[in-house]
């Protein structure tokens, strides 16, 4: 099994209190799902803000890989390459 690529997670202001104020996290993950699993293990409070207790991404949250919404790719199974930037952003649909 190869080594997972190192990617950067960019976090908006409201999520930073859940990871000691960090605006960016560098982690190794080959897919969005793997990135979320990494956060569940290592950043539990942040993970609770991104996913509900079933593990599903929260409904009003969008996830981008670079400039592409993963909804238009393969969802949480979207693969990641070294240097990708993953951004979690509130959707405008939330009101």
């Amino acid at each position: 099994m190869g080594t997972a690529p190192v990617i950067t997670i960019h976090l908006p202001g409201p999520l930073r209190p859940y990871c000691a104020g960090a605006s960016r996290l560098s982690i190794a993950a080959g897919t969005i799902r793997a990135a979320l699993e990494h956060l569940e293990r290592n950043q539990a409070a942040l993970h609770r803000s991104l996913c509900d207790e079933t593990g599903a991404l929260r409904r009003h949250l969008n996830v981008f890989v670079n400039s592409e919404n993963v909804r238009d790719l393969d969802g949480v199974d979207t693969t990641l390459a070294a240097g990708d930037v993953v951004t979690f952003l509130p959707a405008v649909s939330g009101g």
Binding site: R48, S49, E53, T54, R58, A91
Partner: protein, 370 residues
Amino acid sequence: MADRVLLTIGTRKGVFVAEAAKARRTFALRGPFGPGVPVYSTLIDDRGTPRLYASSCNPFFGMKLLCSTDLGKSFKETASAPAFPKDDGRALANIWALEFGDRRKELWCGVEPASLFRSHDGGDSWEMVPGISNHEHSRKWQPGAGGLCLHTILRDGDRVHLGISTGGHYLSEDGGQTFRASNQGIGAGFAPDPYPEFGQCVHKIARHEDAPGRLYMQNHGGWADWTGPGGPRPNIGVLRSDDHGRSWRSIAAGLPSDFGFPIVVHPHDADTVYVMPLEPATRTCPGGAPAVWRSENGGDSWSRLSHGLPKKQTYFTVQRDAMTIDRLKAPALYFGTTTGQLWIGREGGERFDCLFDSLPPVHNVKVAVV
């Protein structure tokens, strides 16, 4: 410190705290705390050093519970919020009810989808109450316009009354271990059977602490003109029980509408009860002229209280937890509106004044004398 009157005001954009001296002439406002995030439930636990709680229901990032131990000068998140077990399949969508339990730091919490949680450490950890959360009816309950919510928790020793929209009234007599639907006499307007075993859209239940057998209910009324299967269902909206919620009867006769959300009992008289009738189709004040209606004889007759309220062109809604009453000798009624006003009804609702007129839409109001 002299007694202070403390209000928690949960709004669509955070929780506010208002404070006044006992005379309640003017209130000082602080907040918002949890700014920008809807707050559907607040609680003032005034046993010992007061603790204020507020649900912070973030549509983007999930549910949090805020706690203040300095009379609402600051709030901090508790260590966790209620959450379903991972393999349950349900996910928390909202926190609708907070009540304190017998022991210090014991909290009960009603949520959407309709379930009950309990904490023994002031909200830092939670356990689901399976007797109602996994009740055999629970997968058959349907969401009302506000979602499928458990919004009312009333405790009286080992008796626990729950209000669920739409599920109905559920009663436990063993401290919350087991629950049964207890809806005899409670009508439903949106099902062919006007008196089903469960599935009623109960909006709020209230009672007087010294008369626990007497309960009042604001149910989903407005079905007097129904012409479909089952026929019309007049006056199913405002009800009373005199047997600890085992059976219910209508007390809606005399009201301009049997539709409404909140129902409040006078702190010193179990026969005095307040409702805020709304037009069922629009959920706004009948004729654009808001009024609280009061009964002083347990619902046998009603009188209109509107001195100081607008007389026309007023179309707000008062939501299920947005009306309350304090416990002072001459108690004041308070209600918040979806148009962001907070009103005080002095002397039990005889004279209304607007305390604040430009808050965000108000979801709930609680009061304590601390």
